[in-house]
Amino acid sequence: MSSHVKEHHGHEHQPLGGRVLTLPFLICAALVAIAGVILFQRYTQGLAAASNLNDGYPWGIWVAIDVVIGSAFGCAGYVIALLCYILNRGEYHPLVRPAVLASLFGYGLAGLAVLVDLGRYWNFYHMMLPWYAQPNSVMLEVGLCVATYTLVLVVEFAPAFLERFGIEGLRAKLNKVLWVFIALGVLLPTMHQSSLGTMMVIVGHKLSPLWQSQMLPVFFLLTAILMGFAIVVWESVMASLNFRRPMETPVLSKLSDLMLVVASLFVVLRFVDLIVRGQIGQIFGGPQSGWFIAEMVLMISGLALLIPKANRNRSRALFLAASLLLAAGILYRLNVYLIGFTPSVGPWHYFPSVKEIMVTVGVFALEIALYLLFVKKLPVMHAVHPEHG
């Protein structure tokens, strides 16, 4: 989605270059290999051989973290496209390509993780066939949206490929229709990120009243946007440190204003929702209330850090605030999908097995390894005059 802004002058984006087989890359590759061995067991012996999943907790971290949280990590491209192309804020343009790349891997691997978790994965394509469709299913909508959005991200990222391999004719043609994909790239995440919240409405009394609400879709949309912003800040600062590039603090500072607004909105609506539902007292009792408090402490300390205007221009404070808000979003989603959930009948327990955790680690390691490879080999990052020549 590079297209615009004077790219015909060439070299607005540049591959970072450098060695691919660095230590971080090799560590990631090793983690992916470990996950591969565990997945072999999972596919030959069944889900129990690799996980602690059971009929009380049929969804574990492979859904809650790999898909529900992983796809929120993938919202970088969504929020930046929204700012840049829908709200016409050109100053965010340097963030577009890295954000779209992060989204591509976030969503691509969330899709892959679904195949790890599906008990009858060989039938997965039934989701796409109209004669199997069950239109009341929120999951059907999520599945179709995520699949389509992943394709949209491929198209949005295509200009970087086409530029790298000098396929200019196709790139020019693509640029003419890219607005359709940009519009879809904003619509689809709005739909499926909110629906990820709607998905848990049906579990009813099994989700603690601290989280069970008809407002779940609103909260999931807000955390998607918030985590999208936070991951952009996070990734920008990490890239600047690791690749010795100048900090993008001025543009990140503008993002932090928005993070402040979205996080405040989330906190206020959470309390309004609890009050309106008459469940505010739940905060002060029960084993799960600690998790609610932790979620709120992370969220409020993240946004409090951004209230002094000076902090919004300090990369350290920005990074810390983004980390706190990201953690708050992660915990909120984990609370809704796992921690706040109690099966209805019988004593069931779930804590992820080591193997299950290693598969999740492997999925994220693959994401990082591919990201490192792509930014080194393809024009993703905005061109700067590198200090290290």
Binding site: H4, G46, R120, V138, W179, A183, G204, D257, V261
Partner: protein
């Protein structure tokens, strides 16, 4: 509520212009939406769809805990009729390994992918008296309740879980199923199960022995029940029978039919007279729970003691989740409108960028 927040934002957000107004506008809208959505009563709430009624000829089971003697003939019959393998509870695994892969003794303690029907026992204190909550014991039968408005059918993305329009039986088709286990997660009664020890595991649940009913034979459990504790029939007939029983007084003799309450399916059978020894709870489990279920239960011991969820609303949860879904996506009008707006802006703005 949002007033405080607005003013806070006004001071804390230095950026002016469109963006801030847009965010503020949506904040106010979201706050208003939150209040209306959550505060509105169900009948006036646009985000709740009406409940689904039972088909008039829906069939089910009436389980009477006071008649159950815990013989588990129904558990065995269910296994035979549905060709289900034996299942060994965790406490029995030490001594019941059997020869080779097969355990000798079928001893399920809970529903599982190998057990579609199970009898569980409640006991308290000395456990001396049958059907007493204090120092007593009681039985409960667990199997699919065949809801009027089932969560499992609502959530299934590929129509593997379906509700028969005439009999109301909730069926599962493994050839369509993708194994996402959303039905397992969503069932308010914890019924559908998946086989985690099989590389090609299936979802399993009671389908009310539809294959037996097709031959005009009774579901396995109702067929073998010696006391009529499990009675088959039209749900409406069973509901009337349940009301008759819950009105019985201790010390009364009453007639209890066996097999099919109408005496048609599986042939006529004689019932029996029995003294009512423990007072029935007035609550008929399944009459109102989650929009009603086709399988009902009556008992002398409160149902929460029998480990059945009693903190549930009178409408099924699909009325809430499908309410949201159908409001947002009615005729795909809202998404189409939003897409048109986004496409217009994206088209205009990318053009502007290129013109620069």
């Amino acid at each position: 509520m949002s007033k405080n927040m607005m003013s806070k934002n006004k001071t804390s957000v230095s950026r002016r212009g469109f963006l801030r107004n847009a965010v503020k506008g949506s904040a106010a809208a979201a706050a208003a939406a939150c209040t209306t959505v959550v505060a509105a009563p169900p009948e006036a709430n646009a985000l709740v769809r009406p409940p689904k009624p039972l088909p008039p000829d829906a069939v089910g089971l009436l389980y009477d805990s006071t008649l159950c003697i815990g013989c588990k003939a129904c558990v065995t019959a269910c296994k035979e009729v549905n060709h289900m393998p034996p299942d060994v509870g965790p406490a029995q695994q030490g001594w019941n390994a059997g020869g080779g892969d097969q355990p000798i003794y079928d001893s399920p303690v809970e529903l599982s992918a190998r057990t579609l029907n199970v009898i569980k026992a409640y006991s308290h204190g000395t456990g001396a008296t049958k059907d007493a909550a204090e120092n007593g014991f009681a039985f409960i039968k667990r199997q699919c309740l065949h809801c009027a408005d089932p969560s499992c059918v609502s959530v299934c993305p590929v129509s593997a879980m379906t509700k028969d329009a005439k009999t109301g039986i909730v069926n599962h088709d493994p050839s369509a199923c993708i194994g996402c286990r959303y039905c397992v997660l969503s069932c308010p009664f914890g019924v559908p199960k998946y086989d985690y020890n099989d590389a090609f595991g299936e979802i399993k649940k009671c389908q009310l022995c539809k294959q037996q009913l097709a031959k005009n034979e009774l579901p396995g459990c109702a067929d073998v029940c010696p006391t009529g504790a499990t009675l088959f029939g039209r749900t409406e007939d069973l509901k009337a029978e349940a009301k008759r029983r819950t009105a019985l007084k201790v010390g009364e003799y009453a007639h209890f039919p066996r097999g099919d309450i109408a005496g048609k399916v599986g042939g006529p059978r004689s019932g029996h007279e029995k003294l009512v020894e423990a007072a029935y709870q007035t609550h008929i489990y399944g009459e109102k729970e989650l929009g009603g279920t086709q399988c009902l239960a009556v008992s002398a011991v409160p149902f929460d003691k029998l480990n059945l969820p009693t903190n549930v609303p009178e409408n099924g949860y699909p009325t809430l989740s499908e309410g949201i879904q159908h409001t947002l996506y009615a005729g795909m009008i809202a998404p189409a409108t939003v897409f048109a707006g986004l496409a217009y802006l994206a088209h205009r703005n990318t053009k502007n960028h290129t013109d620069e």
